[in-house]
Symmetry: C2
Subunit: 250 residues, 2 copies
């Protein structure tokens, strides 16, 4: 019996390259395609999944806590952040539908995972999930690929944080969001920022003021257009030039 899940991005579920959320029976097809699981084994999956419907600012996992679960985001967005004792905060990643919480985890969570707006997610018992991976090598290799992708994104982010100017960081961040939107089957040019300026700042290693100033600077330079809501239109050529760091001081 299919339940009434509503996906923000139905297109996401049709891209075979992504490991999408196996919530119950209704995504059986996708599981078999994406995770290398035979159709007749799906019941084993369905019975170990808990479907979560979360409000804004809910914590899926907390830094330092015992890592008992593993999540897959179904809809909405999640931020992963680390804290310093005095309250300084660094967001180490944003997760969107299809992404996993718990890839970089051994025994305790290394970060707090908090929802940005309402989120739907699938939750697995960690141990159960490990056993599933043993049974279904396709799932395991898929997961390995995803971990690789995350690592590549993290390394790109290290480049931003370590060597790029505020303008370059904002530019490459917007382009990154645009790419992720495209991968989710959403429009890649007028993009929507699901997170606040504070979150962007905490991701880019800047202050909220610096982000705000940089955005208006990009706006007045006609490199982006700020629309209603959190819509942003990107003028790719010039934005790419800046984001990739072509000696840009301008």
């Amino acid at each position: 019996m299919p339940h009434n899940l509503s996906f923000d991005t139905p297109e996401a579920l049709t891209t075979a390259s992504r490991l999408v959320s196996p919530c119950g029976q209704c995504e059986a097809r996708h599981l078999s395609v994406c995770m290398g699981v035979e159709e007749d084994c799906l019941d084993q999956l369905a019975c170990v999944i808990t479907t979560l419907r979360l409000p804004s600012h809910a914590a899926l996992a907390r830094e330092g806590e015992n890592a008992g679960h593993f999540f897959n985001i179904t809809s909405g967005a999640v931020k992963l952040y680390k804290l310093l004792p005095d309250g300084r905060q660094q967001i180490v990643g944003f997760l969107f539908p299809g992404d996993f919480v718990g890839l970089a985890v051994r025994d305790t969570y290394a970060y707090t995972a908090e929802t940005i707006g309402p989120v739907m997610a699938c939750r697995f018992e960690r141990r159960t999930f490990e056993r599933l991976l043993e049974r279904f090598p396709g799932m395991a290799s898929c997961l390995r690929e995803r971990a690789s992708d995350e690592l590549a994104i993290a390394q790109e982010q290290m480049l931003s944080l370590g060597r790029k100017s505020a303008k370059e960081r904002v530019a490459s961040f917007l382009l990154q969001l645009s790419q992720r939107a495209a991968r989710l089957g959403l429009p890649s040019n007028p993009i929507t920022l699901p997170m606040t300026r504070t979150d962007i700042a905490d991701y880019l290693g800047l202050t909220i003021e610096a982000v705000s100033r940089t955005m208006t600077q990009l706006k007045t330079s006609r490199i982006i257009t700020l629309g209603t809501g959190h819509m942003v239109t990107l003028h790719r050529e010039r934005l790419t030039e800046i984001g990739e760091g072509w000696g840009g001081c301008s």
Copy 2:
């Protein structure tokens, strides 16, 4: 017939938690322990491995090139770095014996991997390696763990780059090196820095001058002691306090 490999860190090979370098026959025992490979399948591994003996400043992989190989470091140290068009450089990781080059890679290398001093490494054909992973699920899950570890390190580094002061970055870097030395079976307190100040700067998102100043500042504060060569003695308590960012302005 065992060949005359000399390991910088023989102790490394005895820690079952690490996936050590399977160069030829002589590490058969470790393979079977660490990679979940049956002893009688080792020939399959041995025959697809190329043993490399590299000088200083040799490139194992170059950013943007086709990712044809997969490496495991046997001895020495390697830096992974990304470049911006105008020459700015960010080191995204240091690799030591037992570590892999190519974890975060899909089709092309996302970084350049360059040796720091003489290095010995094992090289696999990428496709062959993928096939091995299919045959030996133990290897695959081991690799997944390693990717997770790398990701966790990367996230910790994002925190440093985004939110820590120069002093805090240097402190946590030294502590990180100390931990890695311990995992390799080397002394964890008087540690040796295998890399230059320039490399440290490019890893920490600082300039060489900032690194130098910070080191002398830590030295005059009696928090570290700079010895001969590239030896550094750490005074853990205070260094940890700084490195973990306890509001430290002092």
